[in-house]
Each structure stands twice: as C-alpha cells, then as structure tokens.
C-alpha cells in the first residue's frame, strides 16, 4: 500500500509542477515557450516509451510520425483551413494513417530488424519533405503560416499572442494523451503488453496474438507522437524537415532512456533534462550535443534504469 501512496504522491507532484510551470520557470531563468517545448517533447518521448518501455519494442523511426503530425498541421493551416484545432486533428490523422499502414508491414520483425526498418521508413518521409520544395518548403522547412487563436464561440483563446495560453493548450493535450496511456497500461490490454515485453514466448503460449498486440501498441504510440509533432509545429509556427529525420528519432530514444524507460514519468524527466541542457549549453557552445552525449553515456553506464531509476533505488524500500 505504501508503494501505491508513493506513486500517487509522485503523480500529484508532477501535475502541480506542470500546472504552475509558467509561474516559476521565468524565475529560474527559463521562459514559457521553453516549458511548452519540454511538454511537447516529453509527450513524444512518453509516446515512444509506451512502445519501448512497456511493450519492449524499439522504434528508431518515430520522428517520421512526429514530422507527419507537424507537416499535417502546418500544411492544413497554410493551404486549407485557418484553424489551429483542425490543423492538430489533420496532423494526428496523417501520422496515424501512415503508422497504421507501415505498422502492418513491419510488425512481424523483432529487435534490431524492427529498429532498422523503422529508420528506413522514417528516412523515406524525410526525403519527401526535403525534396518536394514547392509543397513542403524543402530544406527551408514549411514557413509562412502561424497558429491561430482558438474560437470556442463563447470565448476566444489567444494562443498566438499569449505564450501562457499556448502552454495551457499544450498541457491540456498532454494531459489527455498521458491519461489515456496511463489508463491503458493499467488495463488488461496494457498488461498483455507488459507480458510481451517480459517474455514473448510465454505471452504467445498464453494465447496472446503477439503481433496484433504489438501493432496496436505501435499505433497508440504513433497517435500521440503525431499529436506531439502537430503541437511542435504550432509552437514554432514552422515545420522542419529535420523533425522527420532519424537523429530526431534518436533524440526521443535518448530522452526515454535518460529519464528511465521502465518508469511512466521517466521520459518526461529525460525530455526536461535534454531540452534545458540543450537550451543552456547551446547558448555557450555549438557543440551542445557532445555534452548531452557525455551525460547520456554516464547515465547508461552507471544508472541503466535512467535518472528516475536512480532515485527509486536510493529511496529506502
């Protein structure tokens, strides 16, 4: 029972910190859109971790669906409908549809083969975005559009002019996505995913159609990573082809492993460390990635369960 109380306490703490972030982040030398960036990338890393940490399947191509979400949202707002919410919806639908189709093709693969093929498919989308200048803006990215205030009829939320308003829009999306993933992980379906992670052979001989369950896990993961991508484009008022590339996928994996992929909040911690370190170190030197790399190597060598794993181990059990 003590363990359950601790988990509830951790949940409450995380939500309080996230809800109040715009009010204390500036005092620590941050700024509101840095907070939004942490949230968006944390959502992407937590979505990846649904597959990696809780199903035991490593995708090295999640940037593809992140980027499809970003371009889906940006192109919708730029070319079709000047509506932020429609942009988000289209981004998620585009990313999810691609994931559903590609998932069917790769779901039988395991381990390194799965990871390699996800990279390959990711690169396909990257090159399309990179080459198709007239539509995607090519290497320059998709610019010339911006997120628009949300009109709810009775009120109007100015997410463009007010950074805090946008932060809370992101937080609402984050909260919904995270709540759904948490609920799924505590359901019978979620437990079959843990079973697959723990021992695929045993899972199969319990009567779990393993490939089908991995496909669903992949799809759920990609729904939320597309959502993160759409939000990321809105945050920057820009869609960048590099968001589709394999190194972006690698960043998500690094965030998840850094924070601790066996813990639910691990990737959030990982994303926060990653973003803050990047923000701070990149203002000092162009070689910010080598610092993150060094930090990553130290964590993997000495705390293989990530930062949260370390905290949990040192706490008296």
């Amino acid at each position: 029972m003590n363990a359950i109380n601790k988990r509830v306490a951790a949940d409450v703490l995380v939500w309080i910190l996230l809800l109040t972030m715009p009010y204390w982040l500036n005092g620590l030398g941050g700024y509101t859109s840095l907070g939004s960036r942490v949230l968006v990338l944390a959502l992407a890393a937590m979505s990846l971790n649904f597959l990696l940490g809780f199903t035991g399947v490593l995708s090295f191509g999640h940037a593809a669906y992140f980027g499809l979400g970003a371009y889906g949202a940006g192109m919708t707002i730029k070319y079709l409908v000047p509506s932020t919410l429609t942009g988000i919806a289209v981004g998620v639908i585009v990313g999810t549809t691609a994931a559903a189709i590609i998932g069917t093709l790769i779901v039988r693969l395991r381990g390194i083969y799965f990871a390699m093929v996800t990279i390959a498919f990711g690169q396909v989308f990257y090159y399309i975005a990179f080459r198709w200048n007239s539509v995607t803006g090519g290497d320059d990215g998709l610019s010339g559009w911006q997120r628009l205030p949300i009109d709810l009829g009775f009120t109007r939320i100015d997410i463009l002019g007010n950074d805090k308003a946008f932060y809370y829009l992101v937080l609402v999306c984050f909260a919904i996505a995270v709540a759904i993933m948490a609920a799924l992980l505590r359901s019978p379906f979620g437990r079959t995913l843990l079973a697959i992670r723990e021992n695929e052979r045993r899972a199969r001989f319990l009567g779990i159609p393993v490939d089908r369950h991995i496909w669903f896990s992949w799809l759920i993961s990609c729904v939320f990573v597309s959502l993160a991508g759409a939000l990321y484009a809105l945050l920057n008022n820009f869609a960048d082809p590099h968001n589709l590339r394999w190194d972006q996928s690698g960043d998500f994996v690094i965030m998840a492993v850094l924070g601790g992929m066996r813990s639910f909040w691990g990737p959030l911690i990982g994303a926060a460390i990653f973003v803050v370190l990047q923000d701070y170190v990149s203002s000092q030197t162009d070689n910010w990635m080598s610092f993150i790399g060094l930090f990553f190597v130290l964590v993997v060598l000495f705390f293989p369960r990530g930062v949260l794993g370390l905290v949990r181990r040192s706490a008296p059990s």
Binding site: L184, S187, F189, R191, T192, A195, N199, L206, G207, H213
Partner: protein, 249 residues
C-alpha cells in the same frame, strides 16, 4: 472420443529425424508420462502438440478438431496450455501479476481497455485461489525473477493452470529441483489430476515421480515409439530396460 489424438507424426530438421512416426492417444482425465533418454525427441514431440513446431508428416486432433497447423495462440484458446523445460515466466512482474495476466487473457479480456469492478473482483478472487493452491500466497507481491527455482517452476505451472486448460502439457516440471521442491510439485500435480480430473501429459526424468503419478507411460527412443503401457507394464518391458532403465542404473 479421445481428447488428444496424435497420429503418426514426424518431424525432420534437414537430415535429422527428431520424431519418426509417433502416435499417441490421451483420454480425458488421464495423466500420461513421456519418458526416454536424452535426445529421444520428447520435447520436439511436445512442441508439435503445442504448436511451437508443426510436423513434417502426420496429424493431430484435439477434441476431434484438426490442430496440426494451427497457431500456438489458437491452440491455447482451444484449451491446450504448456510449460517449458526452461522456465518461461514474466520475470520482472510479481507472482500476482503473472497469474492475473493469464486469467484475464483466458477470460477474453485481452483487448479490454477497462474492466468492470465486478469482473475485476472475480479476477482477483481467482488469483487468490491459485495462490492458495500453490502455496505462493506469501510471495505474491515478489517479482518472480527473484524467487527460487522451485517457486518459479511452480509459478509457471500456475500460470498455465490459470488458463483453465483442458489439456496441460508439462515439460520436465521437476527439472533442476531439490528433494523438497520435487515433492511439492509432485503433490501439486497429483492434486490437480485427482481433484480436478485435469488431463495432463508430462515429460519427466525422475522415475519416482513418473511411477508415482502416471496412469500410462510412453517411452520414446531416438524419435521412435519404443513402448507404451501402464507403469507395471513399462517396468517389466525388456526393451525399455535395455534402452533406458538399464542405462540409468
């Protein structure tokens, strides 16, 4: 009609003939032991029944239905559950979670994102029942990977039982166990067979266990069926003594 009918199955791996035209009929409620020297094809034979492998020739009927080429998960849905020679469990989950997953899958909840408190209560009650039966209640909240070898084997058997199988396949349930653990597992299997009329096929090297438990014994040697009969018949069989019991003595 017999519960399990294996008809003349063979399994070839390239030039190696692991199982060569073996037939076996198991009646509901029977406890059948399969014995034989190492490399006799016992585990391969098991793998053909459970769907881990498919036979090169022959067919397998379960409750009258042809399952020869059916996927493992589907055979489980029909009621065939198994354990493995090397324990296959969910090591980083607790004993309780291991059992719970099996019960939920067997109850048809595997795609459910939500279960009612009532259904949840039933699942919990079954977990508790299985824990009591196996004597693992005091270790329910421990990760299975941390338990002793014997408790891990017991957990695996309980996980298979949680599926409410009509046919339970146990591959060397007492392998690597000490005296006391062997006794506990033997008692458990005996209880299952006697009290629940569970149909069980087991592979076993420990002859005391085999002769204590089995209704009938089948002897394999080099992929062939060497003999089949009651424990008394097998003990008296000269070919078996030559090929197997003699070797052990």
């Amino acid at each position: 009609m017999s519960l399990l009918q294996v008809e003349n199955v063979s399994k070839h791996f390239g030039n190696l003939v692991a199982v060569d035209g073996v037939s076996m009929t198991v009646e509901a409620g029977e406890l059948r032991a399969i014995i034989g020297p190492n490399g006799a094809g016992k585990t391969t034979f098991f793998n053909l029944i459970s769907g881990f492998l498919t036979p090169t020739a022959g067919y397998i009927l379960f409750d009258g239905e042809d399952v020869t080429h059916m996927l493992p998960a589907r055979r489980v849905w029909r009621g065939i559950a198994r354990t493995f020679q090397v324990t296959e469990i969910f090591p980083e989950l607790t004993v309780r979670e291991n059992l719970r997953i099996a019960i939920e899958v067997a109850a048809g909840y595997r795609m459910r994102a939500w279960i009612s408190p009532e259904a949840d209560g039933k699942v919990r009650a079954r977990v508790d029942g299985l824990l009591t039966m196996s004597g693992l209640t005091s270790k329910a909240e421990r990760q299975v990977g941390e338990l002793s070898h014997g408790d891990q084997r017991a957990t695996e058997i309980m996980v298979a039982l949680a599926l409410k199988p009509r046919l339970l396949l146990l591959d060397e349930p007492t392998a690597g166990m000490g005296e006391r653990e062997t006794y506990k597992i033997t008692q458990l299997i005996h209880k299952l067979h006697r009290d629940q009329k569970m149909t069980i096929v087991l592979i076993e090297h420990d002859m005391r266990v085999v002769f204590h438990l089995a209704d009938r014994i089948m002897v394999l040697a080099e992929g062939h069926l060497l003999a089949e009969g009651t424990p008394q018949e097998i003990a008296a069989n000269e070919a078996v003594q030559a090929a197997y019991l003699g070797q052990a003595a």
